[in-house]
């Protein structure tokens, strides 16, 4: 059962990592525009020269 002494802290640590990422995504405003981001990925980095 001593394996639990490692596994439980690891599980909690991973969970905390997830929470940290969530808080980071919240702070950087990633939930402010839920529709735009899905479309932005389709854009080219550079606009082609206008015809």
């Amino acid at each position: 059962m001593s394996i639990l002494l490692y596994l439980i802290p690891i599980a909690l640590f991973l969970g905390l990592c997830w929470l940290g990422v969530f808080v980071w995504s919240l702070r950087t405003g990633q939930y402010d525009d839920l529709e735009g981001a899905a479309n932005r990925i389709l854009f080219d980095d550079e606009m082609p020269p206008q015809a």
Partner: protein, 742 residues
């Protein structure tokens, strides 16, 4: 041509404002600057309908000198600009957005809206923490529920309990705040709501688990408490997002008034904010610009698109002396106008006031979950208190055990199933409808939709496609059509657009002269050609009784050719109206259009009750009358004139092609050229309401079975926990029946 000089004015005058340093910037007051000299401006952008607009706007701004940020929020249609330099540059930037074909207005975030986004952030944090905690506690609980002390050992079990407590107690304290605050607020006013038993249940489950843990008992309920919080927070968050969407509608309307107007001071032009317009000022309105305030025409002849305000499908010709409403759009030629009323007193401001009034009326709606809570909470509290008193007074068990039994009653009645009954159905329903092209902006819109017994329909743009189409194309020769299309390509008049739309192929290269209020003229193969109204180039002898939409093509030496138009009905309009009637709804057609057009539509769709010439105030009065008669009203509309009714109706729908204001005010927005989604949504709403009621019945049935057992002390905490989760699962499973029906 005089026309070109005046209609190009908007960009000219802004360029002047930006270059001439002696002239103060118009938009500078809206710019906020920080200590590092970075200027920030938030614009409400009208006309963003597709994702490609994001790139078009951002890339044209991002390359500019000193530009730090240009980001368009696609969900809210707000553009945030940040640049290094002077605030006066705002004018140049706004001109740039305008030159791309969008209307941009500085947006002053209302204090309410800013606190809205703070609260959304707060709820998301609570949700994130509760999600983290419930995941990790489940990991431990899984082991605890599946084994017993023999298998895992007493020490391990207590270790697991301790870790669960270490996760759960801070989580409850942190993520429970939305419920605790609300419960405390109503309790201090001597009232009660659903948050009271939720708070009590969560706190008691946590408190009792702590007590049990310290006594080395077999079961703790940290998982129940945290899972309950997590589920309820999801529902709370979705509710909240829907609400703040609705609040944005009014903000957008107000920002329409933050635009500018060009006024004439003697011989000089000056750009001022619309809200600074006063009665008697003389203003210039270019082609394609909005009339800034109610006014009368001083000079010029033009066509006015009044559809945003009145719903009238045909542009109105105006000449010197005619009056204009604010918010209508000048489409043919520049005008010089005299302001009749300051912007605050004009029609647009009236519409805004009506919407505000309507919004207050809406707030009185009590959601079914709250109504249930009102009946449910006192019963739960009385039962728990009765259990405690009963065991203390009529038995000789120690007080700890009496309290434990009372707490078990509270936990077993803990409104888990009740709290999930409504949100699960609504979230599933809204999600499924969204995939079918119907966007529902609040969960309780489904609830309100199910109760509707009367539906008011707007005509132009709602039942019809909102754009005229050529109907007699078969009678017109290809040569005439080509000639007409070549002329029409130079005009923004809706009928010209319809001709251009009906023709495919090469156009003649003509030099066109636009005669305001009459039509278009050109010289083709040595002869004069005219395309325009009957009075101008139609047959002189014909009688003027025909009210159909028409224009005439006249060539010197030949008989004029008639082009007939109609605003076509959406293909499934009739079918949908009959579907409404089958569902037992009264259908009313209310339009701002001409009587002949409205009666024709009503007749062809079989709508018995119709009203024509309806101004925004008339439509609102119709709504009030229906509501006073005890009817639950749904409004379907797409224009500015519908906005107050859309806000005030019990529930409202708008096509995605409607004005931004209408779409923001409506509870549901449907995409595509079809009308049937409205009827389908109504059917789905009725079914989901049916499921909600079933869910309530299931939750009540469960309580009727479990509570007496708990009061009698037969229910061990383990049984209570299992019963609680299974009741939640049954409710969720029942909600999934929605998938088969929508």
């Amino acid at each position: 041509m005089a026309k070109a000089a005046l209609s190009d004015l908007p960009s000219d005058r802004i360029a002047v404002a930006a270059n001439d340093l002696s002239q103060t910037s118009v938009y500078a007051p809206f710019v906020s600057s920080d200590a590092a000299g970075i200027q920030t401006l938030v614009l409400a952008v009208e006309g963003v309908h597709c994702p490609a607009c994001i790139q078009k706007i951002e890339s044209s701004l991002a390359g500019l000198d000193g530009m730090k940020q240009a980001r368009l929020n696609y969900s809210t249609k707000r553009l945030t600009l940040a640049w290094a330099g002077t605030a006066a540059r705002a004018d140049e930037l706004i001109a740039r957005v305008t030159s791309l074909g969008y209307r941009a207005q500085p947006f002053e975030p209302e204090r309410a809206e800013r606190s809205d986004s703070e609260h959304a952030r707060f709820l998301r944090m609570c949700l994130g923490v509760a999600g983290f905690a419930s995941g990790n506690i489940m990991l431990l609980s899984f082991a605890l529920w599946l084994t017993d002390a023999h298998q895992m050992g007493l020490v391990t079990r207590e270790f697991f309990h301790l870790i669960s407590a270490l996760i759960a107690v801070p989580t409850v304290a942190y993520s429970g705040r939305p419920f605790f605050r609300s419960a405390f607020a109503v309790l201090s006013q001597g009232r009660t709501n659903m948050d009271v038993p939720i708070s009590l249940g969560v706190l008691l489950a946590t408190g009792m688990s702590l007590f049990e843990m310290f006594h080395g008992a077999e079961h703790v309920f940290f998982d129940s408490a945290v899972m309950l919080l997590f589920f309820l927070l999801i529902g709370r968050y979705l509710d909240f997002m829907a609400l703040s969407n609705a609040r944005r509608a009014a903000g957008d309307l107000l920002s329409m008034m933050a635009g500018t107007a060009t006024v004439l001071d003697g011989t000089q032009t000056r750009t001022i904010l619309i809200r600074d317009l006063r009665e008697g000022m003389v203003a210039l309105v270019g082609t394609g610009e909005r009339i800034p305030a109610d006014a009368t025409v001083l000079e010029g002849v033009s066509d006015i698109d009044t559809s945003p305000v009145t719903g009238e499908s045909l542009p109105q010709s105006v000449k010197s002396g005619d009056s204009l409403y604010s918010g209508t759009i000048n489409i043919a030629a520049p005008l010089k106008i005299r302001i009749a009323r300051a912007a605050e007193d004009s029609l647009l401001a009236d519409v805004i006031r009506m919407m505000e009034k309507a919004e207050q009326g809406q707030a009185r709606y009590v959601r079914i979950a709250d109504r249930a809570a009102k009946m449910y909470t006192p019963v739960v509290h009385i039962l728990a208190a009765a259990t405690l008193i009963g065991w203390l007074g009529f038995s000789d068990v120690p007080w700890q055990q009496a309290l434990m039994t009372a707490v078990t009653v509270l936990i077993i009645t803990c409104p888990c199933a009740l709290g999930l009954a409504v949100p699960v159905v609504q979230v599933l329903g809204v999600g499924r409808l969204m995939r079918r092209g119907v966007l529902i902006k609040s969960g309780d819109a489904l609830e309100r939709l199910a109760a509707v017994d009367t539906v008011i329909l707007d005509k132009t743009g709602t039942l019809t496609l909102g754009r005229p189409a050529l109907t007699n194309g078969a009678d017109i020769t290809a040569a005439d059509l080509r000639l007409a299309a070549s002329l029409a390509a130079h005009s923004k008049h809706p009928l010209s657009v319809a001709i251009a739309h009906a023709y495919e192929g090469p156009l003649y290269d003509l030099s066109i002269e636009e005669v305001p209020g009459c039509g278009l003229a050109a010289t083709f193969e040595g002869t004069d050609v005219k395309l325009g109204s009957r009075a101008w180039c139609g047959p002189k002898n014909a009688t003027e009784t025909d009210s159909a939409l028409e224009i005439w093509l006249a060539r010197a030496g030949t008989a004029p050719v008639r082009f007939l138009f109609d605003d076509p009905l959406r293909t499934d309009a009739g079918e949908t109206v009959r579907a409404f009637e089958r569902m037992g709804l009264a259908v009313i057609l209310a339009s701002g259009d001409r009587e002949s057009a409205v009666s024709k539509t009503a007749e062809s769709l079989g709508i018995p009750e119709w009203h024509a010439h309806m101004k925004p105030a008339d439509k609102f009065a119709l709504l009030e009358r229906l509501k006073a008669g005890g009817h639950k009203v749904m409004m379907v509309g797409d224009g500015l004139n519908d906005a107050p009714v859309l806000t005030g109706a019990d529930v409202s729908a708008s096509p995605a092609t409607g004005l931004d204001i209408a779409r923001n005010a409506a509870d549901l927005v449907y995409t595509g050229d079809k009308f049937a989604p409205v009827a389908r949504t109504l059917a789905a709403a009725r079914f989901s309401q049916h499921l909600v009621i079933e869910n309530f019945l299931l939750a009540i049935a469960y309580n009727v079975l479990a509570v007496p057992l708990a009061m009698a002390g037969y229910v061990t905490p383990l049984v209570a926990a299992i019963a609680m989760s299974s009741s939640s699962l049954i409710v969720i499973a029942n909600a999934f029946r929605l998938r088969s029906r929508t």
